[in-house]
């Protein structure tokens, strides 16, 4: 093993206004090793890595590269020092080819030789086990392939430390394996890799050592070999013992809140579905198999072309014409920042987004009263930081989602539609969301659309599998025979005794 660390962080602290993102962080990164940085949303992972990559400047402490203190003022300087980062949101030009993207921002003369670049790309890609056509347009590549281009881009600039921010969030399982293989190859070649994640299994699968971040501090750092189990890691990460174990006491299903019969439209092919008060129905399936139109139809954003939809005893058109703000549908959209909130507005205004009818007298909004309600919700739903004056974009994903949940449950919905409610959330936030959904059953029926079968099994009473706009299977969550076949159904195999039974 190399005797000196490549990069050392000493007492790093960073504040954004009133929010402390990290504090007194010490970390050593060694060449040839993969370090996972594990933490909840808002634990300070991204800020810490942003400091390493030159995106932010620390308020306290220093960064040493090969034992020499450095102070990066831009990502360009960090790259010059051999530190490169692959962001969650890619920074490629879709209309250009792989080779052209790699050439962007490169130092060198004014001339560019596409063929020479393509040759360099091919050699590099092969060394990593990446199959990439240098002449392919980025727009035509899958997410996994784009990520490989990003990694190549960083490496082609001579980086010795590669930072990846939640690299597996956009990958299929097979692509994840390819990525991990490449990371191991890189480590073997002496590159240091830092890998940000909140997925425990991945950390155990690929990392050599793990640092656990909580509320801006490193609470634990150890070799992965010394870690006993995912549960142990998770406990350290959230600092609470009740993670992941949700008690699902089945409730007696009561009246029907949603009934769909033979519904067509927007890619749906004759969907039948029933949701009763007191139960959670999970809709599972590979993304893009009709989940979007299903949710849109129920929530009134798209009219069904054929078939009948009955919501709380009323026909679709009738219900959505008058749609009460309270006691109707609570909808948690998949795209939090893009649909569920306005980024620049504060928590109070975002709360009013769907509850404004209840805080309005003679056309004037009662913001003071709404503010008190938001403060209460923030306490109930453990939103951190509990500051209603912060803009939506200033909350981390999990805290924003809890805010959205609090708002939607405040409307006392009798039908809850939750579309991928825990996507991108860490263990603790996922747990809080799950608890909230289970609690909602006492007054509402819940339709949970999720890509995670484990989530569906943890929460739902019944599962419905969508494939190409059709319900190909519907069964109880404790039907072990059917549960074992979920993978087949998701791939399109129809149920033996007919769908929707």
């Amino acid at each position: 093993m190399n005797p000196t660390p490549l990069v050392v962080l000493e007492g790093i602290g960073k504040r954004f206004g009133a929010v402390t993102a990290c504090q007194g962080v010490n970390l050593a990164i060694w060449p040839g090793r993969i370090k996972a940085v594990l933490g909840e949303n808002g634990a300070g992972k991204s800020t810490l890595m942003g400091i390493l990559a030159g995106q932010y400047q620390p308020d306290e402490g220093q960064v040493l590269v090969n034992g020499v203190p450095v102070r990066f003022r831009s990502t360009r300087e960090a790259i010059a020092a051999g530190i490169g980062m692959v962001y969650q949101h890619f920074t490629l030009v879709p209309a250009m080819t792989v080779a052209e993207n790699l050439a962007l921002g490169q130092e060198g003369g004014p001339w560019f030789s596409p063929s020479a670049m393509a040759r360099r790309v091919s050699t590099q890609a092969e060394a990593l086990g990446f199959a990439i056509d240098p002449d392919a347009r980025v727009a035509d590549l899958s997410m996994g392939e784009r990520q490989r281009v990003e990694i190549l881009k960083v490496l082609s600039r001579g980086c010795q430390l590669l930072i990846l921010d939640e690299p597996t969030a956009v990958l299929t399982p097979a692509e994840t394996q390819t990525l991990f293989a490449a990371l191991r190859r890189l480590a073997a070649a002496g590159v240091a890799v830092v890998f940000i994640s909140h997925k425990l299994n991945e950390v155990l699968a690929v990392a050599d050592e793990v640092a656990v971040l909580r509320r801006g501090r490193v609470v634990d750092e150890c070799p992965v070999a010394a870690t006993t189990s995912p549960a142990e890691l998770a406990r350290r990460m959230v600092g609470r013992d009740d993670f992941l174990a949700v008690d699902r006491v089945p409730l007696e299903p009561r009246q029907v809140v949603l009934r769909m019969a033979g519904v067509w439209g927007g890619g749906l092919h004759g969907v039948d579905l029933t949701v009763r008060q007191g139960e959670i129905i999970a809709v599972v399936g590979v993304a893009g198999n009709g989940q979007r139109p299903l949710v849109d139809v129920i929530c009134g954003l798209r009219a069904p072309e054929r078939g009948t939809v009955t919501i709380l005893g009323q026909g679709w058109a009738e219900f959505h014409r008058t749609a009460p703000w309270q006691g109707g549908i609570g909808y948690i959209p998949e795209d939090r920042l893009g649909v569920a909130v306005c980024r620049e507005l504060d928590a109070v205004d975002n709360f009013l987004l769907t509850t404004r009818q209840g805080f309005c007298r003679f056309g004037v909004l009662q913001r003071q009263r709404a503010r008190q309600q938001v403060v209460e919700l923030m306490a109930t739903f453990r939103v951190h930081p509990p500051q209603p004056q912060l803009a939506a974009r200033q909350f981390s994903g999990g805290n924003l989602q809890k805010l959205v949940l609090g708002r939607e449950f405040f409307r006392r919905p009798r039908l809850v539609v939750a579309d991928q409610p825990t996507q991108g959330l860490d263990v603790a936030a996922t747990h809080d969301v799950w608890q909230a959904l289970l609690a909602a059953r006492t007054v509402a029926g819940v339709l949970l659309v999720t890509g995670e079968v484990s989530e569906a099994l943890a929460l739902a009473d019944r599962l419905v599998v969508l494939y190409r706009g059709r319900v190909v299977a519907a069964f109880a969550a404790d039907d072990e025979v059917e549960v074992a076949r979920i993978g087949l159904y998701m791939a399109g195999a129809a149920a033996q005794e007919g769908a929707g039974s």
Binding site: R73, S74, G300, L301, A323, Y331, P333, D335, G338, V339, A340, V341, C342, R343, E344, L345, D349, L352, L353, T354, R356, C360, G363, V364, L365, R367
Partner: protein, 353 residues
Amino acid sequence: MALVVRKRREPLPWWGSCLIFLAAVALALGGGGAMLALQGKPALAGLSVLIGSAVGSLWAVEDCVLKAIPLFLCAVGVGLSFRMAVWNIGAEGQFALGAVGATWVALSLDHLPAAVLLPFMGLAAAVAGGLWAGVAAFLRALLGANETIVTLMLNYVGILVLEFLVFGPWKDPASFGFPMTAEFVPAAILPALPGTRIHWGLVLCGVVGVAVTLAMRSSRLGFEITVCGQNPAAARYARMPYGALMAVVLVAGGALAGLAGFVEVSAALGRLQPSIMTGYGYTAIVVAWLSGLRPLGVAGVALVLAALRVGLESLQLDFQVPAAFGGMMEGTMLLVVLAGSFFSRYQILRRPA
């Protein structure tokens, strides 16, 4: 030593924006001086005439305020729709229709006392301007027609409507063939505030400014307009009536531009004639864009651009510069101020070598 450009983390305080605006105005004036020099005119003397005649006397300042009043009304109107990211650039046509509406009442109900006649004229102007903008909202809702194009094109139609009336049915038989209506009766003339040449339109501006500020800040309607402007997807999700709100901002903006037309035709001219169209509706777009859409900012920018108009009139007389010089100055100012707004979003830092 090298310089780096960086996005500002904290937004610039309001006085910072003011400073940038004033610096940009100074730069634009310098550019104007250079243009004067190119024409072989004395640049410094020209600029001092420009500034002196705009702010050098009480009379001049009153002139600036008078010109700022219609600018303010039009700019608050277009600013309403800008907040919703709806691009109403038709204030000029809405202004023309407002003048026509007010004139119609002034000519046909001239027996009424001022206390009744003036509110009626204002109402007619607001309705006419609002309906004119409503055409764009209607076409957008019905056919998905782009409101930017429609409001722009309706400007030309609106001005032609005005010209048709003053060249035809409304032409004063005693005007020796000039295209103008008969002079309004005294009851149809907006009176001046006591002790000044400034008319009651100023009070109207105050009322409009306060009303719009309150509506945007505290009302549910204003909240919904803000949300629609910030994130149309969230507005749809929250079941806000996007189309209806768009109609509201367009019609309200048209009504305000119409009121400006009423103020001008009544107080400034006392009759309807084509010379009423001096481009207030176009300048108002510049004002709204430069003001950050806050009514107080609109007032400040409207005063500056009005002062420029006043100063340029004297400059034209004293130095025989062509009338187009005014347009060049206004355009320079817009460009420089917009370029200057770069500094309100970015900062330039020194980086030690």
